[in-house]
Amino acid sequence: MPADTAAPGPEQAYFDALADGRFMLQHCGACGESVFYPRALCPHCGADALTWREASGRGTVHATSVVRRRPEQGPPYNVALIDLEEGPRMMSRVETVAPEAVRIGMAVTAVVDRSGDDPVVVFHPAGGGA
């Protein structure tokens, strides 16, 4: 087996770090862009010189929706797209405020939630909104 396939690929490495409570982004050494979701090749320039950097966690709500359910299925919840300070956009949810209160442009901070079966990055309003 070639040496470069011995280590986990970027997708597995991302979730391994998340399980340790760290939210990591890739950084391209060739073009300087940050990359999310994790990839084998930079989608901006094609280089494979991607290294890991811990995300600042700072972001801004780019788009937001509230998923409505029948009452017996549970309460409504937020789904949002978050623009990360480093440049990439990701899907997530904003917690600690009512799902309807999430606004486009709202400043938010990432939190790694490890309370469920799989770790997940969620966001809280920035500045101690929790």
Binding site: E11, F15, F36, Y37, H62, A63, T64, S65, V66, V67, R68, Y77, V79, A80, L81, R89, M90, M91, S92, R93, E100, I104, D118, V120
Partner: protein
């Protein structure tokens, strides 16, 4: 203009099982549409030597359909790019006919998903970076795009609802449409909320149904039963798959496919007599009218106000009632195409437009992702 302009003509079109077709398999529905299209053209299955079929349940759709129909094709394509697949197949079929790879192409699609599941079927692997957040797909993706359009351009809930009420008013004149009762803006706003800003009436139907189209050379089409509908232009583009990775949530790749299709056809927006766009959600029609050049970016909401795309409005849009009120068997792309063909041939009864010559059919796939624009004409426009 390109050398492909008019390289093939639609010689037959048919639908089958629109709405509810309980007890019918997907292939039975598709075969019903194929029979209707062949009968329309005056051809038999043995005349077909190119088959194009994407399926949401068979990952080798053209193999499955050819075996079922007893066709051994010279050219075959099951390409899946979502709801625009059938329109993309027309583009490939035109190239196949122009280069001699086949002479008579069949493009077909069918589904029984209303009767077997009652909801939109997805066969994709769950996205590990989106599915943990529980977006109700595809609805939430389009809802996120709508939230952005409302934020940037002041598009209102009422303006989105106008798309649904216009579609319903057209459907009232289409005996094949699934929902034909009157629908008001208040009805849309007060319907069951699904994913803000959408209620269930902002969302396409889930129906059964099949559609099929026969494409051949312009010369052969002239010898067949029905008035030929030449393909004057066609183009496709896609910039992303998941909504998270859409570069600008208010601009689709239709802004690229549309102008390229116009250039091939040698037409401008003003030449287009009627528009059939894939209205999976109310926001789609607003964004596509912008991206295809019928109004400026951000003005789509105001453009559709006051019944402007309803019968008697300023632009003829989705005369069959669209995916919102006519039918939506999982992938809708072939149906706007068939409605354009029927309008150009004068088949549309109460909703028939007076002597249209140029029609646009636009397909959307994935999550505002794959975009295919076709320009069709009458034989006189060749």
């Amino acid at each position: 203009m390109s050398g492909l302009r008019g390289a093939a003509s639609i010689a037959g079109a048919g639908t089958y099982g629109l709405g509810e077709a309980p007890g019918q398999s997907e292939l039975e529905i598709t075969a019903g549409a194929v029979k209707a299209a062949l009968d329309d053209a005056g051809l038999k299955a043995a005349d077909v030597d190119g088959v194009f079929c994407a399926s949401m349940t068979y990952n080798m759709g053209s193999l499955t359909l050819c075996e079922y129909l007893g066709i051994a094709p010279r050219f075959s394509d099951s390409s899946m790019i979502g709801g625009s697949s059938s329109l993309a197949h027309l583009l490939t079929a035109m190239m196949a006919i122009a280069t001699g790879q086949c002479d008579v192409a069949l493009v077909a699609y069918g589904s029984n998903q209303r009767s077997v599941s009652g909801r939109l079927v997805s066969t994709s692997r769950p996205d590990p970076f989106e599915s943990p957040y529980g977006p109700r797909q595809p609805i939430t993706s389009y809802a996120l795009a709508a939230s952005r359009h409302m934020h940037e351009y002041g598009t209102t809930r009422e303006q989105l609802a106008e798309v649904a009420t216009a579609a319903r008013a057209w459907a009232a004149m289409n005996p094949d449409a699934f929902l034909r009762d009157p629908l008001s803006i208040g009805d849309v706003l007060n319907a069951r909320p699904i994913s803000d800003p959408f209620t269930v009436r902002d969302c396409c139907l889930v129906t059964d149904g099949g559609g099929a189209v026969i494409l051949t050379s312009p010369e052969r089409a002239r010898d067949l039963k029905r008035p030929p509908v030449p393909m004057l232009g066609g183009a496709m583009a896609h910039w992303h798959r998941a909504i998270t990775n859409m570069p600008d949530l208010t601009v689709t790749a239709a802004s690229e496919s549309g102008p390229r299709a116009y250039a091939m056809a040698g037409v401008s927006v003003e030449d287009i007599d009627l528009v059939q766009v894939y209205d999976a959600f109310t926001i789609n029609t607003v964004v596509f009218l912008e991206d295809l050049g019928f109004c400026a970016k951000g003005e789509g909401g105001a453009f559709v106000e006051n019944g402007a795309i309803a019968p008697g409005g300023r632009l003829v849009v989705n005369t069959n009632g669209g995916g919102l009120s006519c039918c939506h068997p999982g992938m809708y792309g072939i149906f706007p195409l068939i409605e354009a063909v029927r309008q150009l041939r004068g088949d549309c009864g109460e909703r028939q437009q007076p002597n249209p010559e140029i029609a646009l059919a636009h397909g959307n796939g994935g999550l505002f992702s794959s975009q295919v624009t076709l320009i069709l004409g009458t034989d006189g426009t060749l």
